[in-house]
């Protein structure tokens, strides 16, 4: 597709087969990117339809049942098919070996297998849409999920299969990070994106099997009725919630941690300043991974768990805010007195910090039991997790995509249109979701397709915001795809980054590097190194030359 003269991973082998059976992490990453973008589009369409129905009170376009199916599909598709694999499996697959100076991930065949398992899982999930969709919400709470007539089994089976894909990626990344780092790259010289992917992989590996067994039991419960979630047969439906959130709370950190990793890369590259508090950012990723396993009960303050356990979970929920706060302040300190430039990736970084701060702080509010009892299952919660998941993860994902786009395709996108799309997305996002904080605090419950007239103005603004977001994404899709075919050629290192992926060609050759690279500096040594015309040079060498000239 590209007319690049040099051989690279895109043009060295040709034909559909060379893509479908490739073991190259870069190509697998791109196939993942293609797949998750389809999922993102689907989930986005569902979101627009939900907002459309909520434009006016009463029934406009969909029946109550269709509405239930729409929000379930929006949640399930966005979470299982888009956010979880988006950063690790798509972007991470592409950049991880490059950042480590490796030729590939540790297990290339497992990597390809994980992609096809993802596709199979996605097909099951999509089949459930054709076969009558699911209306349980993406959380599949019992006993409703065991009694509803919709196709819960194919959706949960899909999620179960997707879990394997996620586990395989996690296993692969852990082994890769342990064993395939370039000479000279000690643990504390790894790029922070790698630390974030490492912490993510640990959560994927530890939490996903528990979701697997829970969904499996749900399927058995639905098919033969083993009674363990059925109160009429001596079972306990709340047990399902415990097991579900034991995975699904850590899972939100599977979603946000790699986003934080991207932000760590972007903030230092575009501030041209050494990252502030490298070790603290690295440790805080592991800290988040650890504490994330101990906070699941904050989803269940109103489900009848004991007051004492609610208290403990509330305390631990405040506690998990600390490592995120550490990252936030370190990024700000990195920018302080840096030479900041505002290319598209940096704009997304700023947006991330702004939006994630709101998402994080409202999370602390919801972690307080007394407030949560009031806000539980209202739009306040909806706004909170959209600020973290979309304002956080999706914005970071977009930042990372713009950052590595020239490396991936060897082409530059239009900076002007990137800014336009960014502005539309940033403003549209806030119009859509900030209004929902007000809606929620005024008592608008989530998952309702109808509402009292008093909520209409806010719902209206929220729907207008969703249109702005939609337009922003369409513009982005256009200029990104255009750039692949017609964009100007990208230099090897357009942003002056110091990590290893910028030291190979754009796009990289099939084996990533001509020679095994050796790391001779700290990952973010902007105080001693700089990039001039794609060459990484020491600042003191430049000074010496200048002295000679004088």
């Amino acid at each position: 597709m590209s007319v690049a003269t040099t051989a690279n991973y895109l043009n060295e082998e040709k034909g559909l087969k060379s893509w479908l059976f490739t073991l190259d992490h870069k190509r697998i990453g791109m196939m993942y990117l293609f797949a998750v973008m389809i999922a993102f589009f689907l989930g986005g369409v569902f979101a627009i339809l939900i907002r459309l129905e909520l434009l006016n009170p009463g029934q406009d376009f969909f029946t109550a049942d269709t509405y239930n199916q729409l929000f379930t599909l929006h949640g399930a598709v966005m979470i299982f098919l888009f956010i979880i694999p988006a950063i690790p499996a798509a972007l991470g697959n592409f950049v991880l070996p490059l950042m480590l100076g490796a030729k590939d991930v540790a297990f290339p065949r497992l990597n390809l297998a994980s992609f096809y398992i993802y596709v199979v899982g996605a097909l099951f999930a999509l089949y459930s849409i054709v076969a009558g969709a699911v209306d349980t919400g993406w959380t599949f709470y019992t006993p409703y999920s065991t009694t509803t007539s919709t196709s819960v089994i194919s959706m949960t089976l899909g999620a179960f299969i997707l879990g394997f894909s996620s586990i395989f990626t996690g296993v692969n990344f852990i082994a890769t990070i342990h064993k395939l780092r370039a000479p000279g790259m000690t643990w504390f010289k790894m790029p922070l994106m790698v630390w974030a992917l490492y912490a993510t992989s640990i959560i994927q590996v530890l939490a996903t099997p528990v979701l697997g067994i829970t969904l499996l039991l749900l399927i058995i419960e639905r098919t033969i009725g083993i009674g363990i979630f059925d109160p009429a047969m001596g079972g306990d439906p709340v047990l399902f919630q415990h097991f579900f959130w034991f995975y699904s709370h850590p899972a939100v950190y599977i979603m946000i941690l790699p986003g934080m990793g991207i932000i760590s890369e972007l903030v230092t590259t575009f501030s041209k300043k050494k990252i502030f508090g490298y070790k603290l950012i690295a440790y805080s990723s592991l800290g988040i991974a650890l504490i994330s396993f101990l906070v699941w009960g904050h989803h269940m303050f109103t489900s009848g768990q004991s007051e004492f356990s609610s208290m403990v979970f509330s305390f631990l929920t405040f506690f998990v805010g600390i490592p995120s706060g550490i990252k936030m302040f370190n990024w700000l300190a990195t920018m302080y007195k840096g030479r900041i430039t505002f290319e598209a990736p940096m704009l997304y970084t700023i947006a991330f910090m702004f939006l994630f701060a709101i998402g994080g702080l409202t999370g602390i509010m919801l972690g307080a039991i007394s407030i949560d009892i009031h806000m539980h299952d209202t739009y306040f919660v909806v706004a909170h997790f959209h600020y973290t998941m979309m304002g956080g993860t999706v914005i970071a994902f977009l930042g990372g995509m713009h950052y590595w786009w020239p490396k991936i395709w060897g082409r530059m996108y239009s900076e002007k249109w990137a800014r336009v799309a960014w502005a539309l997305i940033f403003v549209g996002f806030n119009v859509t979701f900030f209004t929902q904080f007000f809606l929620g605090s005024q008592g608008m419950p989530r998952r309702y397709y109808n509402y009292l007239d008093q909520y209409q103005p806010l719902h209206m603004y929220s729907t207008y915001g969703s249109w702005m977001l939609g337009v922003g994404f369409l513009i982005m899709a256009y200029y990104l795809i255009y750039s692949i075919y017609k964009g100007p050629k990208a230099p090897n290192n357009p942003w002056g980054g110091l990590t290893m992926e910028w030291q190979t060609t754009s796009p990289p050759i099939q084996h990533n590097f001509e020679e095994q690279p050796v790391l001779e500096h700290e990952p973010y040594d902007y105080d001693t190194r700089m990039v001039v015309n794609d060459q990484l040079i020491k600042k003191e060498d430049v000074k010496e030359k200048e002295n000679i000239n004088v």
Partner: protein
Amino acid sequence: MEHAEKKPSYLQHHFADMEQQTDAAKLGMWVFLVTEVLLFGGLFGFYTFYRAWYPEMFMEAHKYLDVAMGTTNTFVLITSSLTMALAIRAMQLGKKKQTIAYLAGTLFFAGVFLVIKYFEYSHKIELGMLPGKLYFFDGIQAANPHIFFSVYFTMTGLHGIHVLIGMIIIGWVMVRTMRDDFSPEYYNPIELTGLYWHLVDLIWIFLFPLLYLIG
């Protein structure tokens, strides 16, 4: 092409040497075993919860499990772990025939385990000691005895599936041994299969006392 020295055929292109490849594969396998432990950990969690909730019922219902068959199976599975370990040892010493024999032994014991399990299951199915709604046995007085059998069948069932998958992998490794894929320099797949098999064995060692020997 840039590699001047000759590399063995089993060394994949993205690894620098055999040590790196072997270490990476072993680490990957251990991490995978962790996920297996957590998969079963969920079921052990369910077990703990319901045993704490219905202690008398568990006590009464477990009497209907066949301790003799369970004990036999425990010995059968431990023996199969031994033959598995011996198979790895044999390949380290380059004794191909011995390796194949030990792998065949492991397969045999795994098969015996499943046959005994089959007799246990069919006996229970006949009497109606079945999970959940399918339960129709009326010999147990305590409330909700079907929960015990839900736990019993899901735990041993998932374990049985793991035994079956293990047999397929052992069979595949055996074929590869016959094909001369392995040598004292390269026998990693056998070793990884061994790691997996020992875990399957270990899970049974926990299942046996928790289900058959309570009280």
